[in-house]
Amino acid sequence: MTLLIQTLIQGISLGSIYALIALGYTMVYGIAKMLNFAHGDIIMVGAYTIYSTIALAHFPGWLGVLSAVVFCGVLGVVIEFLAYKPLRGAPSLNVLITAIGVSYLLQNIALLIFEGKQKAMPLGDFDFPDLKVGNTGITVTGEVIFTITLTVVLMIALTLFINKTKMGKAMRAVSEDKDAARLMGINVNRTISVTFAIGSILAAFASLCYGMSYAYIKPTTGSMPGIKAFTAAVFGGIGSIPGAMLGGFVIGILEKLSSAYISTQFTDAIVFGVLIVMLVVRPTGLLGKKIREKV
């Protein structure tokens, strides 16, 4: 029982990271109708930004996070402007390949600057005390509490932003029908830029959480969490924001459960297997809209 609860909490924590990244995938997909494969690498960029500001420039921890948030946000917008915007209207597969090119580019720039050797994340400022729950033997580590709290706060903020602000309304309109939104006077280009910025900022926060749980980073760090988060976004129904949150948690919990109870080696296979079964049963994900083709 203790193990189960511990595992579930760890799963929620891991799922939080996935959910934060998945939100970026799903928002960009919903609004720009593209799979931004470079999104996973934004986490890596965020992690290295934190590393540089804290370990190399010796700034305090909060400044490291702030600079990561700013840098990733700007980077997301710049990437969109340089690489994706010229391709608007091109076949989606060509945009996908470009995104892959951007992903390689980010990884290789990081490789040039920081070299392949892994670096320890200097997150001493974020050392929170562990929480022991009475005499049940359950311990919740500080980073888990921090991760979950941060994620919940960010998700509430995002939901409020999308539902309450003018820009949020514009985003929903653009994701529904780009042309109609443009006719209604919405600046589609700006809306897409903002979407990329928000997605990247969430990824920057994810990189903080990732760094806290895994402690080490290298240029390919973003790759696997990126794919897992992408899986989570698809699992929840790509394009759906609640879907991405839910998908992230489900994938995270599933991963921790299967490594705790079944086999650590087969964890990835199990997670992907469940994903396939899920998609076969519900072809557009948990909360994805069912598209009916008009004949």
Partner: protein
């Protein structure tokens, strides 16, 4: 009308000619010893990447379904074929390569095709990006399972050193590679230009209309999964025989992406020439950039982005039009016609 007919055939014929040319070039380079070590190491990879690109183009360009799991089919072929070769060589040390390698290729291909069909059936339910993620997931599952199979070497890798004993591997394997690639290309192109190929393209262009024309869409989708996987499996067998150690981790989604990049760059669709050329260029490119050592992959990625922007940005459509072969041909023809007219006019004046 007849002109066009011969043009269809000419397109495939040109592809074939280019393929034969490529392999003839490889032979000459190897036989004369003109090939550098670097080039030697590129020859077999180029061969299997050509085959991978063509077979993925059948899936993505002809059927119109995005697959990110091609490396998975390749690994099934590689492990099946290499396992068989290792067994055969162990049991019958005298067995010549021209017996066991083709057997390995065929069995590797068939096993991959079986996996293709097995994956194709559930994949029928999902479409587009969801299908891409399902194929990716299958690829990752295959990878994970193989890593955990002890008799296939587990995480250390599967030792395939014994099956191609020759020191000069490229030259030993080249005839098999050439045969496999050229024959596979012919088979695939034949299929595309047949009734079945038309049915597959019909599914791509308009699934609902294809159904209304009496085409069994599900059958063709699964069939293409199987066929594309078959040829990817053969490519995998080549890959395995060229390497000394098969590592399951290499067949990850990055490899699938690499193949997809070739297909997209080469131009998707019924014409396979683009895939062939893109496969050769994209395999050679990272090697050619080796002189830039650290900057190699950086340049590669920048080139990839620039090429994609150049080839598909809607704003650049006009420039592409001007640079296209058809346009150049047309303008040349116009010039020739003008010249001929001038000549004619001149002659008439002389008269």
């Amino acid at each position: 009308m007849k002109k066009f007919l011969s043009r269809i055939n000419r397109r495939d014929a040109l592809t074939l000619l280019v393929l034969v040319g490529i392999f003839a070039f490889f032979f000459i380079m190897l036989e004369t010893g003109a090939a550098s070590n670097q080039f030697k190491n590129m020859i077999i990879p180029m061969s299997y990447y050509i085959l991978l690109a063509i077979s993925l183009n059948l899936m993505v360009g002809v059927l119109g379904e995005l697959s990110l799991g091609h490396a998975g089919f390749m690994s099934v072929g590689a492990y099946t074929g290499c396992f068989l070769s290792v067994m055969l060589v162990e049991k019958f040390p005298e067995l010549p390569m021209y017996v066991y390698l083709p057997v390995a290729m065929l069995c590797g291909g068939l096993m991959a095709a079986l996996f293709g069909v097995l994956i194709g059936i559930p994949a029928l339910r999902v479409k587009g990006d969801y299908l891409a993620i399902v194929t990716l997931a299958f690829c990752e599952i295959i990878k994970t399972v193989i890593i955990n199979l002890e008799f296939l070497g587990g995480a250390i890798g599967f030792d395939t050193d014994s099956i191609v004993p020759d020191r000069n591997k490229a030259l030993t394997l080249l005839p098999y590679a050439a045969f496999a690639v050229i024959v596979s290309a012919i088979l695939i192109m034949n299929l595309v230009r047949s009734k079945h190929g038309r049915a597959i393209m019909a599914v791509r262009d308009n699934r609902i209309a294809a159904e209304a024309c009496g085409i069994n869409v599900n059958f063709y989708k699964v069939a293409v999964f199987g066929i594309a996987a078959f040829f990817a499996g053969i490519a995998g067998v080549l890959y395995g025989h060229n390497d000394v150690l098969l590592k399951s981790a290499n067949f990850d989604f990055n490899m699938s992406i690499e193949i997809l990049v070739m297909v997209v760059l080469g131009g998707m669709g019924s014409n396979m020439l683009g895939s062939v050329i893109a496969a050769v260029v994209m395999t050679a490119l990272p090697e050619m950039l080796r002189d830039f050592s650290d900057y190699r992959m950086l340049i590669y990625s920048v080139m990839l982005i620039v090429i994609m922007l150049f080839t598909s940005a809607p704003a650049l459509a006009g420039i592409r039009e001007r640079l296209s072969l058809g346009f150049i041909k047309e303008s040349l023809q116009k010039k020739m016609a003008k010249k001929a007219e001038k000549k004619k006019a001149g002659k008439e004046e002389e008269k």
